[in-house]
């Protein structure tokens, strides 16, 4: 009989551990590592030159530019919205608070295609505000504003979800202390609240950014697929793939995958830092 006396009661037996680990590894390999490897092998199938050619194409460059532009607008907007919403939820008591929390989660629970359709129904030519927009020569659907709106909607929860539990946990003690010491509300926010949430905020922004650049469904509905104008990187990948231009499709896809890997690495780095901050607070 193995000596189990000195093992903590929560430690599993050896066989259980091996089986669980192998299951997890097998799953990871099939569902994550193999596809990721496939993306890069397909992209480099015809050599580095063919790979680089995919990015020399003007449409590809336009798609990359558009994706970066959309992220550059959507992420800061959601940073501000996310902080404002978490601040309201965590530090104040008001009617309809649980409704607000549910609404923040809405983009997670609604299919992205539906999110895109909502904007078409609102701002499209046949939509609610369509005639008025057309009369004033404002183009939202099949243009940059629509893509930004859809992206903002889909990525809204990331920052708020990250901040709300942390801010609720931290409570209002630090802010109250700053106020009694004479700091204005604005100064309290900059010198006390923001530093307290900085790691979680950065973490939320990273996730938000990754999703903003990778969003397909909602953007596909509002973009109109105009080459060189309203195609983001994920849409460009789809078009190339449908045209059997596999090397180019996988090359652009590999750029998106790389972004995901960088985000993941940054996230782990943050978790490592942020974990310390949490431990520091627990002992506080």
């Amino acid at each position: 009989m193995p000596d189990t006396r000195h093992q903590p009661p929560t430690t599993e037996r050896g066989t259980t551990r091996v089986v669980l680990t192998l299951t997890a590894l097998a799953f990871l390999t099939v569902c994550l590592i193999l596809p990721l490897a496939a993306v890069f092998t397909e992209a480099f199938r015809n050599g580095v030159d063919a790979y680089m050619d995919a990015f020399r194409e003007p449409d590809a460059q336009a798609a990359i530019r558009l994706t970066l532009t959309v992220a550059a607008i959507a992420v800061p907007l959601n940073l501000v919205f996310g902080v404002a919403a978490s601040w309201a939820v965590a530090k104040f008591e008001f009617r309809g608070k649980s409704l607000l929390i549910t609404l923040i989660d809405l983009p997670f629970s609604v299919s992205p295609v539906v999110s895109g359709l909502v904007y078409v129904l609102l701002f499209g030519a046949q939509g609610l505000l369509g005639p008025w927009l057309a009369a004033h020569n404002i183009q939202i659907i099949f243009a940059l504003p629509g893509i930004v709106l859809a992206t903002v909607f889909v990525t809204f929860p990331f920052v708020a979800r990250e901040l709300i539990p942390l801010m609720q946990d931290q409570g209002t003690g630090d802010e109250e202390a700053a106020l009694t010491l004479g700091a204005s509300g604005f100064k309290t926010f900059w010198t006390v609240t923001l530093p307290n949430i900085r790691w979680a905020l950065l973490y939320g922004v990273l996730l938000c950014n990754a999703r903003a650049m990778g969003e397909f469904g909602a953007v596909a509905v509002v973009s109109g697929h105009i080459r060189g104008e309203t195609n983001t990187m994920p849409l460009h990948v789809e078009i190339l793939y449908n045209e059997y231009n596999f090397v180019a499709a996988f090359a652009v896809a590999s750029l998106l995958a790389l972004l995901a890997l960088v985000t993941l690495a940054a996230k782990s780095l943050l978790e490592w830092r942020y974990g310390d901050a949490i431990a520091g607070r627990a002992g506080h």
């Binding site: 202390a177 700053a178 009694t180 010491l181 004479g182 700091a183 307290n196 607070r281 002992g283 506080h284």
Partner: protein, 349 residues
């Protein structure tokens, strides 16, 4: 600075729970006052109303002769110390202490050198010299609370308010900090109000104690007054261990089940009353002693200061706690007699 509270009421929600009802209280200039009461008595709400962290539904708060009722927290000049310290964890100790000086507008902000000098002075006052570069996470609970106090004192507040300042600390540290806070108070002479639910802390530390219950001041007085002449059974039992006996008062003598008790009776006329007694005012006599109440031992307990017996009075079944004199051996079931030497009588309503 003298702080006056007039008819202060605070209720939450629509016609909801009243946390404070028409409290009148004057805190004298330079005084160290304790707000003592069980949880839910309104003591923290009262303190937060003084600070401007909460606003009363009715009534006034006066700082000296100035009406501070609607003054925002930043303008009140209060030093507030929180139970869980609320130190800024991303700033080191020196920056924490300097915070209140650095956030001032340019006209009122001391120079960097002056701020440094003040921080060092305060670090010395709270006996943490040399630890200015540490972060709150690297300090013990007692040290953190001393930093919090230094931070509150840095703005030279009109009044120092402490919300259960030692509540999160262990017993030994509490006792040390209590003595030390008293010394700081004597040195700075600043008007200080602290909230506690620990009667020992209030009795030992405060110049005067306000006992709160259900949002009202039940009694206000010096520790001696509160201890020796508690105004109600609530204060009596809150301030220390007590047991109570139903008695009948006749001709200036208290009787329990036709046994005459030794406790002197002052002003309660012939009526039914409750006699509240401390364990050390109950004498344990040999069973059958004439004039004693026949009783039996139910349980014997050890306390920090001695040993206690829970006695059951044979005639009435009432239970009473008595301090066991050194050397006396008792075990559950032993027959004894007891005698109440002193107690407080409260007329039965």
């Amino acid at each position: 600075m003298e702080i006056r509270v007039e008819r202060l009421s605070k209720s939450y929600g629509h016609g909801g729970l009243a946390a404070l009802s028409a409290v009148d209280l004057t805190i004298r200039s330079g005084e160290l006052m304790a707000l003592l009461g069980p949880s839910g008595s309104g003591k923290t709400t009262l303190l937060r109303c003084l600070a401007g962290l909460e606003f009363p539904t009715e009534g006034r708060v006066l700082f000296g002769s100035e009406d501070a009722t609607d003054l925002p927290v930043q303008k009140r000049g209060v030093g507030f110390v929180f139970q869980h310290y609320a130190l800024f964890r991303h700033m080191n100790v020196a920056d924490n202490i300097a915070y209140g000086l650095r956030v001032r507008d340019r006209a009122r902000r001391p120079s960097a050198a002056e701020i440094r000098r003040r921080v060092n002075e305060l670090l010395a006052l709270v006996q943490l010299s040399g630890l200015g570069g540490r972060y709150p996470g690297q300090l013990s609970g007692g040290q953190r609370q001393r930093v919090a106090l230094a931070r509150a004192l840095a703005i030279e507040p009109n009044v120092l308010l402490l919300d259960e300042p030692f509540g999160a600390l262990d017993a030994q540290v509490r006792r040390d900090l209590r003595r030390w806070l008293r010394q700081i108070h004597e040195r700075t002479g600043r008007t200080t109000v602290f909230v506690t639910h620990d009667q020992e802390e209030a009795l030992e530390l405060a110049d005067r104690i306000a006992i709160l219950r259900n949002g009202r001041v039940e009694q206000l007085g010096t520790p001696d007054e509160i201890y020796e002449r508690p105004a109600s059974p609530f204060v009596m039992s809150f301030i220390g261990d007590t047991s109570s006996l139903r008695v009948h008062v006749r001709d200036g003598v208290a009787w329990h089940e036709n046994v005459r008790l030794g406790a002197p009776v002052a002003d309660v006329c012939d009526s039914e009353a409750d006699l509240y007694v401390r364990p050390w005012d109950v004498g344990i006599l040999e069973a059958g002693t004439p004039g004693g109440l026949a009783a039996s031992v139910v349980a014997v307990r050890r306390t920090a200061s001695g040993r206690r017996a829970e006695l059951r009075i044979t005639a009435s079944g009432a239970s009473i706690e008595a301090e066991i004199p050194p050397g006396l051996q008792l075990k559950p079931g032993d027959p004894v007699a007891c005698d109440v030497r002193q107690g407080r009588l409260y007329r039965r309503e």
